[in-house]
């Protein structure tokens, strides 16, 4: 069976990893720590290509019915 790249799938939104600096800025903006972020598993197929490790923050750009584009952040765990 050939490999299937989930990131190419139409239903998988764009996932990117935040840099340390961006991370700081995000935490400052919402006055949160890593703990308060929604979580994503390290081995989630959608972020496999990002080579994530626990403690990273993933930025997700989703299509939204109400807002056109919506940005979401998830912290890598596990």
């Amino acid at each position: 069976m050939g490999t299937f790249d989930v990131t190419k799938h139409i239903l998988v939104p764009k996932h990117t990893k935040l840099s340390e600096k961006e991370k700081e800025a995000l935490f400052a903006k919402y006055n949160i720590t890593f703990r308060e972020l929604p979580k994503i598993l390290k081995n989630d197929p959608a972020i496999a290509h990002l080579n994530p490790k626990a403690g990273d923050v993933i930025k997700i750009e989703r299509k939204s019915k109400t807002a056109g584009k919506a940005i979401y952040y998830r912290g890598v765990v596990g």
Binding site: E36, R62, S64, T66, A67, A70
Partner: protein, 863 residues
């Protein structure tokens, strides 16, 4: 003996922890204030016997008497325990399981647990874990398992004594090798179990000792727990518990006497057995193996366990099932002449529900009127509350004295008056609009009255619905109700930002008729407006005949401007509604503008003129619509479903053609010449084709009807959105159409056919649930049957779906209940964890939007 602890005043303390355990005989004697020795309750004078079950030391249940233990009066004294010394020990039924486990797992001679010390230390952690995860029962089972596995069951690992097989003969008899073990023997064995071994069973040895499960003394609950009632005949009727305790004491005394007299063992054993029975049923009268103790009348006694257990027990009935005072429930009925924020309260209810009003030097005269009227005359008062909090009922005897006594600082619980605040509620309370504050309006008759415009938020109708009314009792509660849940504050639904109250049914069709080109005499118009409470006629054009639109416009504020759309077409053939400077220039007023959860007109009014004004206008609109119908008549009769002859012919033509086409499709199918749809079988293709064909035919008929029925009352209702639609009309007057079951034609029934009146394998429309007749013409037998099939299916569907979706909604609401939008626009749960970074991804507060959107155009034009 007076216990100094009990005699002192009540001390308030914080609960630090709870320990569950058993009462030891010592504690039972210590906490008792009387020893009960005689089954007699009262002497010849009717005075409680000393040492009897109604002993005055056990508390007071009669007004005027004082407790012999604490000196408190009725309600001051909470009651005191007594005790009886049992002549012979008896087993406590509720601990039989524990006793059984302990007897089987410990040595009969030395009382040690039948597991060697080294094995125990190995298993301790495991046992603790099992108890934590699966409960204490499993722990004991596990101990038994360990013992069986050790195979040394027959011999004690400590003293080497041979163990015999112990069995339980339910409920309370233990046998060792088929020989009865007396409670005395059992108690002796349990006494031998050391604390450390006992602890292995998962019980705190500090809280109880196993031998306490064999009773030697029995606590007698205070009389306050088992009050006797005096019947009208003057006879005293004792509580079930008192009866049961009487039995116990009687048998106990007999047993004592017999033992002292040296009676034969058989007699003693019999009495002992009887004592065991009475004590057992005293704890639980629903034990399977023994007959329940009964009253003389034959009904079983309600003893301790039954008091606590099940739906009618203390826990579910009294502790979990709370009831509210100052509330009422009755059937609801409509009254459009009430304001939206009013609720009609029956006079009888208004005289039972009260509001405490504090007397001051300024209102004391006013309050005296209520007291003087008393509880039987409206408006009166039921109680006077003294400054010390004592409630005094107003009766003919107390009235004079209370009137004199009344002074600032007193409060009078007066009857409800018009304008008082009440919280009105209909279950299921699914959203916040299910409980709203109304102003009371006291009315005759026995139902709650509400304006039909507020039916929608409550989801109420008048087919027998009941609603609840609560009267806030404090100034704070009233203020909260007024500011937070009053009708005007709830007008805009937080779900999508549209008005949730509006005109329904007649009010819509009435306004539709009025605004769709009705012309009436100016005098008639004035009469109409006056009847709904509009008194300013200056805005009505000064000419002999005025248009309905001009009459309707009188309700709007003078400077109201609005552009929107209606549901139905207006006289110009489009859907536009234009209101300019408070005048309806173009368009009709129908469900799209007036209805609940519909159009933006009510929303615009709310935005511009505020909630109170809007609620008032909705009320006016509602009444106007109804009065129009009242004045000009509106009746849908059988004739409204009539079709002219030529339309009937056209309908017949369409249906004939459809059937013919269906016949053709079937013909092609049978010859095998039908073209198959991709991904379908041949059979499926025929079905789909026929279904499509017949649906198309019915739609065609529908359009035809739509064109030709204009002017009938049904048409007005359907067009304005008041009730019904064109499909209903088509089904009544032209054809009912295809009956579908799970998206398909009806196929089930007999072998290869739906009903025995059809040929086998017949595919024609009629044989598969096509109803050609209309409801008015009447259905053919087979058509009627098909209609019944889908009707029943639909009924079952709703009956099964309603509870399912209700539970689904409940789970959703509970899961989301403490999510909250923070000031930074994020949605977070109670722990501060982020759920959404921007509420709804677009950050729009829907309750402040218009139908979930923000109308940028109007925001710009209003800047």
């Amino acid at each position: 003996m007076v216990d100094p602890m009990i005699n002192t005043k009540i001390v308030y303390k914080m609960i630090d922890r709870l320990i569950f355990g058993m009462l030891s005989p010592k504690v039972i004697k210590k906490m008792a204030s009387a020893k009960i020795v005689t089954p007699e309750l009262y002497d010849k004078e009717g005075y409680p016997v000393d040492g009897g079950l109604m002993d005055l030391r056990l508390g007071v249940i009669d007004p005027g008497l004082r407790c012999k233990t604490c000196g408190g009066r009725l309600k001051e004294c909470v009651g005191h325990f007594g005790y009886i010394e049992l002549a012979r020990p008896v087993i406590h039924v509720k601990f039989v399981k524990l006793i059984y486990d302990l007897l089987r797992c410990t040595c009969k001679d030395c009382g040690r647990i039948l597991i060697p010390a080294d094995v125990i230390s190995r298993y301790k952690a495991r046992l603790n874990k099992i108890e934590e995860e699966e409960g204490i029962e499993r722990r004991r089972e596990k101990i038994k398992e360990i013992i069986t596995k050790l195979k040394t069951i027959n011999k004690c690992p400590y003293c080497g004594a041979k163990q015999l097989k112990i069995t339980l003969e339910k409920p309370t008899t233990f046998l060792e090798n088929e020989k009865k073990l007396s409670p005395i023997e059992i108690r002796a064995r349990l006494e031998k179990i050391p604390d450390e071994d006992f602890a292995i069973f998962g019980i705190n040895p500090k809280a109880m000792r196993p031998e306490w499960a064999v009773l030697t003394v029995l606590p007698i609950p205070p009389v306050t727990m088992r009050p006797s009632i005096t019947l009208e005949t003057g006879e005293r009727s004792e509580d079930d518990l008192t009866h049961k305790l009487g039995d116990i004491v009687r048998i106990n005394q007999r047993l004592f006497e017999n033992i002292n007299a040296g009676a034969p063992e058989i007699i003693i054993d019999d009495l002992w057995e009887l004592l065991q029975y009475h004590v057992t049923t005293y704890f639980d009268n629903t034990i399977a193996q023994i007959p329940p103790a009964r009253h003389k009348s034959g009904h079983p006694l309600k003893t301790l366990t039954e008091r606590i257990k099940s739906k009618e027990g203390r826990i579910r009935h009294n502790l979990a099932g709370k009831r509210t005072n100052f509330s009422a429930r009755t059937v609801i009925s409509p009254d459009p002449m009430l304001m939206l924020d009013e609720v009609g309260v029956p006079l009888v209810v208004a005289m039972k529900l009260t509001i405490p009003e504090r007397a001051t030097e300024w209102n004391i005269e006013y309050l005296k009127h209520f007291v003087e009227a008393g509880p039987t005359k409206y408006p009166g008062a039921n109680y006077v509350i003294r400054p010390d909090g004592k409630r005094k009922k107003i009766t003919d005897e107390t009235k004079e004295q209370l009137l004199e006594e009344l002074a600032p600082g007193y409060a009078v619980e007066r009857h409800l008056l018009d304008g008082d605040i009440a919280v009105f509620n209909r279950q299921p309370s699914l959203h916040r609009m299910s409980m709203m504050a109304h102003k009371v309006k006291v009315l005759p008759y026995k139902t709650f009255r509400l304006n039909p415009a507020v039916c929608h938020p409550y989801n109420a109708d008048f087919d027998g619905d009941e609603m609840n009314l609560h009267i806030p009792q404090t100034e704070e509660a009233r203020a909260e109700a007024k500011e937070l849940i009053a009708i005007p504050t709830q007008l805009i639904s937080p779900r999508y930002g549209l008005a949730i109250m509006g005109c329904i049914q007649d009010a819509i069709s009435g306004n539709y008729l009025l605004t769709k080109g009705m012309k009436l005499k100016r005098t008639e118009a004035i009469e109409l407006l006056a009847s709904i409470g509009v008194e300013d006629f200056s805005r009505l054009p000064n000419k002999e005949f005025v248009f309905g639109k001009e009459v309707f416009s009188c309700i709007f504020p003078k400077d109201f401007c609005f552009v929107g759309s209606s549901k139905g077409v207006n006289e110009e053939g489009d859907y536009e509604v234009i209101i300019k400077d408070g005048k309806l220039v173009k368009g009709v007023m129908d469900k799209g503008c007036l209805g609940p959860e519909a159009g933006l007109m009510l929303r615009a009014l709310h935005k511009r003129y505020g909630p109170e004004r809007t609620v008032e206008i909705i009320g006016l609109m509602f009444r106007l619509g109804i009065k129009v119908l009242l004045k000009y008549g509106f009746t849908a009769g059988l004739a409204d479903a009539d079709l002219p002859e030529e339309i009937k012919l056209k309908v017949k033509e369409i249906l004939d053609k459809a059937e013919e086409e269906a016949e053709n499709v079937i013909g092609l199918y049978q010859q095998g010449m039908l073209e198959v749809y991709p991904g379908r079988t041949l059979r499926e293709t025929v079905e789909l084709k026929i279904l499509e064909l017949l649906n198309r035919a019915r739609n065609k008929v529908g359009e035809l009807i739509r064109e030709y029925v204009s002017g009938s009352f049904f048409q007005i209702m359907a067009e304005s959105g008041a009730r019904g639609n064109y499909l209903n009309l088509t089904q009544m007057s032209a054809t009912v159409g295809q009956q579908a079951l799970r998206g398909k034609r009806i196929e089930r029934g007999y072998k290869h056919r739906t009903l025995s009146c059809f040929r086998k394998h017949d595919l024609c429309p009629a044989a598969h649930g096509f109803i050609r007749s209309s409801y008015k013409e009447g259905l053919l037998p087979h058509e009627f049957f098909f209609a019944a099939i889908t009707g029943r299916d639909g009924l079952m569907d709703t009956a099964l779906r309603t509870p399912k979706s209700g539970y689904l909604y409940r789970r959703l609401a509970n899961a989301l209940q403490d999510l909250k939008v923070e000031y930074d626009g994020t949605v977070r749960e109670a722990g501060g964890n982020i759920i959404q970074f921007t509420y709804g991804e677009d950050g729009i507060d829907v309750s402040k939007s218009e139908g979930g959107k923000i109308n940028v155009q109007s925001v710009i034009s209003n800047v």
